[in-house]
């Protein structure tokens, strides 16, 4: 399966945030969407998620690169983790999970509610507390858990590790890695180290365009320098 973006354009007034974005994402890989602050990463995700209207272009799924059958993206195909997690504050974690499983009648859960909590390492004493009292990290885990249960084909992660402590960030990384099979994961960040550590592919978003980075030397200090230089060059251009 592939996620294809074709000539996507998004402007705010005269300011073009996304200029002719053209890219193909492949199944089973984690893509690190790297860009400077304000480069349009969240706008890109909001466009894909249908939260804001695009000016032109299209995006769709297809079974493989040779396939001509376009699969229109429906809301249930997308799982979106926003950087500032928001959860219904009047529910407890357990109540929210119960509701979520009931609303997704198509899902046949292979775990009990507590097993799901265990999987995400959400502490027992948090499970029956109101979500409004959850820490930032636990709210983030809840969001991730729901996306895992819903099992969407396309997962958009908008800087989900920002402001998490080291332990929770590492736990989240492991979960993201373990969930990459069978879906396309796009992980936005402005932190180069996180992208290099977690992602199979790195895509730069700058000057409103997506550009793949040759990943052959992923992990080299030269590689990082190359990316920084590329971002700087494009910014100065």
């Amino acid at each position: 399966m592939e996620f294809v973006i074709s000539h996507l354009v998004k402007s705010y007034g005269s300011k073009q945030v996304l200029k002719d974005v053209d890219f193909v994402f492949e199944e089973g890989r984690i893509y690190g969407l790297l860009g400077r602050n304000g480069s349009g990463k969240t706008t890109f995700f909001n466009c894909i998620n249908g939260d804001i209207d695009i000016n032109s272009g299209s995006f769709y799924l297809r079974e493989n690169s040779g396939s001509k059958d376009i699969i229109k993206i429906e809301p249930q195909d997308i799982g979106y983790l926003v950087s500032t997690p928001t959860v219904p504050e009047f529910m407890t974690g357990r109540e929210f999970l119960k509701f979520f499983l009931e609303i997704h009648e198509e899902i046949k859960p292979d775990k009990t509610i507590d097993e799901y909590f265990d999987y995400m390492m959400i502490p027992e004493d948090d499970r029956d507390r109101l979500l409004k009292d959850y820490s930032h990290g636990t709210k983030n885990k809840m969001q991730m858990l729901l996306n895992i249960i819903a099992s969407p084909r396309l997962v958009l992660l908008d800087e989900p590790l920002t402001s998490l402590d080291v332990i929770i960030a590492e736990e989240m990384k492991n979960v993201i890695r373990s969930q990459k099979q069978g879906r396309i994961t796009i992980f936005s960040t402005h932190l180069l180290d996180v992208a290099v550590d977690l992602c199979d592919e790195i895509v730069l978003l700058h000057n409103g365009r997506l550009e793949p980075i040759d990943k052959s030397n992923l992990g080299d200090s030269d590689f990082k320098d190359k990316i920084i230089a590329a971002l700087k060059d494009q910014d100065d251009a």
Binding site: G13, N46, D51, G79, T86, P88, F99, K132, A150
Partner: protein, 579 residues
């Protein structure tokens, strides 16, 4: 010196007009429908800027007239009326009319000026143009603050001198015409001096007053303002002797000189720091949630949903349970108050009847009239017959032909608006990040559940109002036609259904709240204004209850079906996360 003043003032006014003009264009571009068609070029159109400049000057002059001339003019006018009354009743012994006038005017003016002193603490307020000029363009903060302060004082003096013409015509002494502007300047200098002295000693601004403290101050000052009226009209013409008023005025003049001295030693560095601190304070204030959003955050994980509710039914039941006090309280209180009024009126009538005619007759009367009520007849009693007079006829007319007036109390009791705020801030705002929540079928399923829920809560005040109207009918002659009692209850119920449907639809289509439950978006506001206007007109339509119930039933059915279809069609587009 003069050149510096003129240059600074020109720069400030130029910047103000640029900020004002750009703000106006920005606001226009945010307007629904037309906004997106307006080009960015508007920001640079010279012709429009000139037009804006003209309006800017008109606005400045108008502010001068409204604020200064109107304020002092009213005081002079009040003093004139008091003086006339006082002289007219022959109570002015030992004081001339002009001096009495001056005493009244000074008394009210000093209170007025002190009030102005409290609300007008702009000297160290860092407005947008001050921020640009001082922190970006490196202008001398002291020069800027002092220039604007002198400019304000100049406007004050001119405005007060113009208003003083009223005083001269009204018989005020000439010295008052010149004296009040001087006193005003001194009081202003005193106020500015206090701010400067406070900042110099504490290195921070004085604390902002809380809303409740403001309310208290305003009430106190109003009482003081009304004191002369009270003295003249109630306590036999007493007045504060002019000498005392002049002594108080002299004290303020001295305090003004002190203020001037305090300001003169407030150096550039302090001015700059004071402005910077004001920016910091404003930033902090802007991050504080307004009080009205806090009420939605008082949630406790108490209780759960009984029964076998699942999915959205479960979500809604849980939502109502956790927000019970917030959602139901208003409707419950309203219903109880209406029922209490009914109970009190009935008690008063039955108790009076019992005292007059004894308990046996009372039981008879009650039994007979209960039968009358349930068989659709009106009140009847041989001992105490129905007294038809203008008042009873008026109430009967209202209960049988003006039932649309019920829109007013039912709008007050309606909980839909607050419910939608709670839905957004505590539920939908977060669930919108999940794809399932944005699916058409699921949106409409939750919409239906919520509509039923709102109707279930709003129906109680409607029933209470309906019962109230029925009792009026019963007490003033009974039904004019069969089922009139039933239809009289049906009308407010239908109004409450329409209310619930309207608010919920508006919420789904406009998604109009911020996370601090403030209303955003011009379209929602405009729609509300139009609806309020239509409602006010509809309220006064006279219509027989039978016809009204028929029309309303058809209208409600069509309205609900139509709005539901609109929500189903458009909500998947509007029902989305907005940054």
């Amino acid at each position: 010196m003069r050149n510096t003043f003129t240059n600074t003032l020109t720069k400030v006014n130029h910047l103000r007009s640029i900020i004002g003009y750009n703000g106006l264009v920005y606001a226009l571009k945010k307007l629904p429908v037309i906004g997106k068609h307006l080009p960015d070029k508007l920001y640079s159109l010279t012709a429009l800027k000139v037009i804006y400049w003209i309006f800017h000057i008109i606005k400045e002059v108008s502010m001068l007239f409204i604020g200064k001339i109107f304020g002092l003019g009213m005081i002079y006018l009040a003093a004139l009326l008091l003086n006339k009354g006082y002289i007219g009743y022959g109570m002015a012994e030992g004081i001339s009319s002009p001096n009495l006038y001056a005493s009244f005017a000074l008394f009210m003016f000093i209170i007025y000026a002190l009030f102005g002193l409290l609300i007008n603490t702009r000297l160290f307020k860092c407005t947008t143009e001050k921020e640009y000029l001082v922190f970006m363009l490196r202008m001398n903060a002291r020069t800027l603050n002092n220039t604007l302060f002198i400019f304000d004082l100049g406007k004050l003096v001119i405005g007060y001198l113009i208003a003083g013409i009223v005083a001269i015509i009204g018989g005020a002494p000439f010295w008052l015409w010149l004296g009040i502007p001087v006193l005003a300047v001194c009081i202003k200098l005193f106020g500015a001096g206090v701010l400067a002295a406070f900042y110099r000693s504490k290195h921070k601004h004085n604390k902002l007053l809380k809303g409740s403290t403001w309310g208290l101050i305003v009430r106190l000052l109003l009482v003081f303002m009304l004191l002369p009226v009270f003295m003249v009209l109630v306590i036999n013409g007493y007045y504060v002797p002019l000498q005392y008023m002049l002594i108080i005025a002299a004290v303020f003049v001295l305090l003004g000189i002190w203020g001037f001295w305090e300001l003169s030693r407030f150096d550039e560095n302090l001015h700059r720091r004071a402005l910077r601190d004001n920016i910091v304070r404003n930033e902090i204030e802007s991050y504080k949630e307004p009080d009205h959003s806090k009420q939605f955050k008082r949630l406790k994980a108490k209780g759960t949903v009984k029964g076998d509710k699942k999915g959205f039914e479960y979500l809604n039941a849980l939502f109502v349970r956790r927000h019970r006090t917030m959602l139901v309280l208003k409707a419950v209180i309203f219903t109880i108050v209406v029922l209490l009024i009914i109970a009190l009126v009935l008690f008063e009538f039955i108790y009076g009847y019992a005292r007059r005619f004894g308990s046996d007759s009372t039981w008879n009367m009650l039994f007979n009239n209960l039968i009358n009520f349930f068989t659709g007849h009106g009140y009847a009693d041989a001992l105490h017959p129905f007294d038809e007079n203008a008042a009873t006829l008026f109430f009967r007319d209202c209960a049988s032909k003006q039932l649309l007036l019920m829109i007013i109390p039912l709008s007050i009791a309606d909980i839909s608006f607050k419910s939608t705020q709670a839905m957004y801030i505590n539920c939908d705002n977060s669930l919108m990040t999940f794809s399932f929540f944005k699916q058409r079928e699921k949106i409409i399923r939750l919409f239906d559940i919520r509509l039923k829920q709102l109707i279930r809560i709003n129906i109680w005040p409607a029933l209470a109002c309906g019962l109230f109207a029925v009792l009026i009918l019963f007490n003033t002659g009974g039904q004019d036609y069969p089922f009139q009692y039933l239809l009289t209850v049906l009308v407010p119920v239908l109004i409450s259904v329409i209310n619930s449907m309207t608010w919920l639809t508006l919420y789904y289509l406009f998604q109009p709240f911020t996370t601090t439950v403030n209303v955003k978006g011009g379209a929602y506001r405009v729609t509300r204004i139009i609806l309020t206007f239509i409602t006010i007109i509809i309220c006064w339509i006279t219509l027989n209850t039978a016809v009204l119930a028929g029309v309303l039933t058809v209208f409600t059915v069509v309205y609900v079906i139509l709005l539901r279809a609109i929500v189903k069609k458009y909500a998947p587009k509007t029902w989305k996360m907005k940054s």
